[in-house]
Amino acid sequence: MLARESRTTLLDAVTAFIYREARFQDEHQYEAWEALWTDDGVYWVPANGDDIDPEKQMSIIYDNRSRIALRVRQLMTGKHFTQTPQSRLRRLVSNIELLDAQPGGDIVVGSNSMIFESSLRDDTVWAARNEYRLRHVDGELRMAYKKVALVNNEKALFTLSFLI
C-alpha cells in the first residue's frame, strides 16, 4: 500500500482526471476525451446487470480501442443525427475512491455519476456506478478501462449516444 501522504496526492490527481473527463464529455470535446485513453483501452457499458460476461452477453457498449476511435469519428462527422444537434449535458461525479493502488499496477478507482441530458426527445436523467483502471503513461494519467454500470441497465433505455 502507498503511504498516506502519497495516497492523498494520488487521490487528488485521480479526482482531477475524472473531473476533466466529465467536462470533456459534457462539452462534446471528443478528441480531447479520446486522448485520455491508453492504447489498449476498453470502454464497457453492460446491459442486464453489472457483472455479465461481455464476451458472451450483449452489452450496451463494449468497445476496444479501435472501436472507441470509430465512435469518436462518427460523432465528429456532424451527420450522426442522434447528436445533431448535440445533447446538452451536465454531470455530477462523486464518491471517488481509490479501490486498489499497488505500486507499479493500474490504479483502480470507483465513482458514482448522475447525468442530466437535454435532447430533442426530452430531458433524461442517467445514473451510474463507474469503475476505472488508470495508468501513468509518460507522466500523465490515462484510462485503460472504464466501466459504466447504469442503475437501470436491466430496463429498456432511450438512445444513449453521448459519451457516458
Binding site: V45, A47, N48, I52, E55, K56, Q57, M58, S59, I60, I61, Y62, D63, R67, L70, R71, R73, Q74, T77, G78, K79, H80, F81, T82, L120, R121, D122, E154, K155, A156, L157, F158, T159, L160, S161
Partner: protein, 419 residues
C-alpha cells in the same frame, strides 16, 4: 378521431400510395390495433432455445402484456399470462430462471409451470371450488417454426404456417447458416426504448431508401461497403410477401460479388472452423452458395425482424412508446462466427449502436412530425410505377422503393377492417 374507428374509415386513412398521419398518433387507433393485430393475429414471442431445459422460464411480451414462456416438465412450451387468476397480481418478477411453479406473493396461490392452479392458502374458504377454472390465463394458440415460438389469442384463424406464407422460406434460409440447421438465442437482449409509434419501426426495417442518408456517418468512417447495397445502382430488391411480411433481398449483390462470407464483411479463410463445418454439413457446393447468399433481411409482421446478423422484436407499449428488443443471432455449431456476430451486433444496435441510435432518432422525429396537420399524409409512392412480380408471384421493386411499406399497409388495412 377520438372514438373507436369505423371500418369505413380505414379506406379513407389508407390509400394505395399514402397513409394518414393519425394512424401513428391516435390513441383510439392504437387501441384498435391491440385488439385486431396484437391480441388476435400471430405474434412472435420467443425462441425455444431460450428455455432449453425442463422448468426453464423467461418473461416475454405480447404488446404491452407480460407473458411467461415456460418449458414444463413434459418439455412442452407454454405461453402464460403473468397475471394471478385471483386478483391479477403479477406472479413472476424475475426475467428468467428455472421453476416448477410460480407462487403469487399476494395470497400465496401457486401455479404449476404449465399454468394449472395447484394450491391456494387456507383452502377451506374455497370449499367446492373447481381449481381447473382458475388456472393462469394462457395465450390461446402456441405454434413454433424452426424454434421460433409464436402466439395468437384467437381460438380460430389461420395457422402459423398460413400466416408466415411465402416468408417461411426466409426462416429456412436463416437456419441454413448454421452447420447444424439451428438458430440459438443465447446472448441476452438489449432493450432500446423510443418515444415513437411502433409502425415507424416496422416500416423502417425494410426501407432501403434511408441507409445512404441516415447511416452515412458510420458508413463513411467505417469504410463500410454496406452503403453500396442501398445505392441507386444496386441490384438488390425489396419484396412484399403478403400477410404484411417484407424483405430486402441482398442476394443479387452478394451473388455478383461471388465471395463466400462477403455478406458479413469477411472471408471464408478468416473463419476456417466454420467453413469446414459448413462444407461437412452441406457439401462444398451448397455450403459455398449458402455462404455467398448470407442470411435474410426480413420483417415478419408484426414484430420479428431478422436483420442478417441480429434479431429484433418490436414491442408497442403505447401509441407513442415502443421498445426494440435486439440480440445477436447465434448459429448452432458455429462458435467462431458467433463471436463475431456478437461483436458486430453490439457495435451497431441497441441504445448506443452506431446504426440504431440514428434510426431511433428518425422514429422519434417522425412521430413528432406527424402530429402536424394539413398536409397530414405520408407519401409512399416511391417505385409504384416500376413494381413488378417475381417468379414466385411476389411484388418486388428496387432496393430503395417503398414496396414494403405499401405491402404492410395493404395487410394492415385488411386486419383493421375485419371485425
Amino acid at each position: 378521431m377520438n372514438v373507436m374507428p369505423r371500418a369505413s374509415q380505414w379506406e379513407e386513412l389508407i390509400r394505395p400510395d399514402r397513409v394518414h398521419g393519425s394512424l401513428y398518433s391516435d390513441p383510439a387507433i392504437f387501441a384498435a390495433e391491440l385488439q385486431n393485430i396484437w391480441y388476435r393475429g400471430w405474434v412472435y414471442v420467443g425462441h425455444e432455445s431460450e428455455v432449453p431445459k425442463a422448468n426453464d422460464y423467461i418473461v416475454k411480451s405480447i404488446g404491452p402484456q407480460s407473458v411467461i414462456m415456460t418449458r414444463d416438465e413434459q418439455g412442452r412450451v407454454n405461453l402464460l399470462l403473468n397475471r394471478c387468476s385471483h386478483r391479477g397480481n403479477q406472479v413472476c418478477s424475475y426475467e428468467k430462471g428455472n421453476a416448477r411453479s410460480f407462487t403469487c406473493p399476494f395470497h400465496s396461490w401457486t401455479f404449476a409451470n404449465d399454468g394449472r392452479l395447484v394450491g391456494y392458502a387456507f383452502p377451506d374458504g374455497y370449499e367446492g371450488q373447481d381449481k381447473t377454472q382458475l388456472a393462469l390465463g394462457r395465450v390461446t394458440r402456441v405454434e413454433s417454426y424452426r424454434g421460433f415460438v409464436f402466439g395468437s389469442f384467437a381460438a380460430e384463424g389461420p395457422t402459423l404456417r398460413e400466416h408466415l406464407g411465402g416468408a417461411i422460406e426466409t426462416i429456412d434460409r436463416l437456419v441454413r447458416t448454421s452447420p447444424e440447421g439451428e438458430v440459438e438465442i443465447t446472448a441476452g437482449f438489449l432493450k432500446h426504448r423510443v418515444k415513437a409509434n411502433w409502425k415507424f419501426i416496422l416500416e423502417n426495417e425494410c426501407d432501403g431508401y434511408h441507409p445512404a442518408f441516415v447511416h452515412s456517418s458510420i458508413f463513411g468512417v467505417a469504410e463500410s461497403s454496406i452503403g453500396k447495397l442501398y445505392g441507386g445502382a444496386s441490384t438488390a430488391l425489396t419484396r412484399d410477401y403478403g400477410e404484411g411480411h417484407t424483405e430486402i433481398d441482398l442476394r443479387p449483390e452478394f451473388r455478383k460479388r461471388d465471395v463466400p462470407m462477403s455478406w458479413f464483411g469477411t472471408t471464408a479463410e478468416r473463419l476456417p472452423d466454420y467453413t469446414a463445418r459448413m462444407n461437412a454439413a452441406y457439401g462444398e457446393k451448397a455450403a459455398r452458395e449458402i455462404m455467398i447468399d448470407g442470411t435474410p433481411h426480413v420483417m415478419i409482421f408484426p414484430n420479428l425482424f431478422i436483420a442478417e446478423i441480429q434479431m429484433f422484436v418490436i414491442q408497442p407499449l403505447a401509441v407513442d412508446d415502443s421498445v426494440q428488443h435486439v440480440t445477436a443471432l447465434q448459429f448452432k455449431g458455429a462458435p467462431d462466427l458467433n463471436r463475431r456476430l456478437r461483436q458486430q451486433t453490439m457495435g451497431s444496435v441497441g441504445p448506443a449502436g452506431f446504426l440504431l441510435a440514428d434510426d431511433s432518432e428518425m422514429y422519434e422525429r417522425c412521430h413528432r412530425g406527424v402530429l402536424a396537420r394539413n398536409p397530414e399524409w405520408i407519401f409512399l409512392g416511391r417505385g409504384e410505377k416500376r413494381e413488378r412480380t417475381d417468379e414466385l408471384g411476389f411484388k418486388v421493386g428496387h432496393v430503395t422503393d417503398e414496396v414494403p411499406s405499401r405491402g404492410i399497409w395493404r395487410h394492415y388495412r385488411n386486419l383493421m377492417e375485419t371485425r
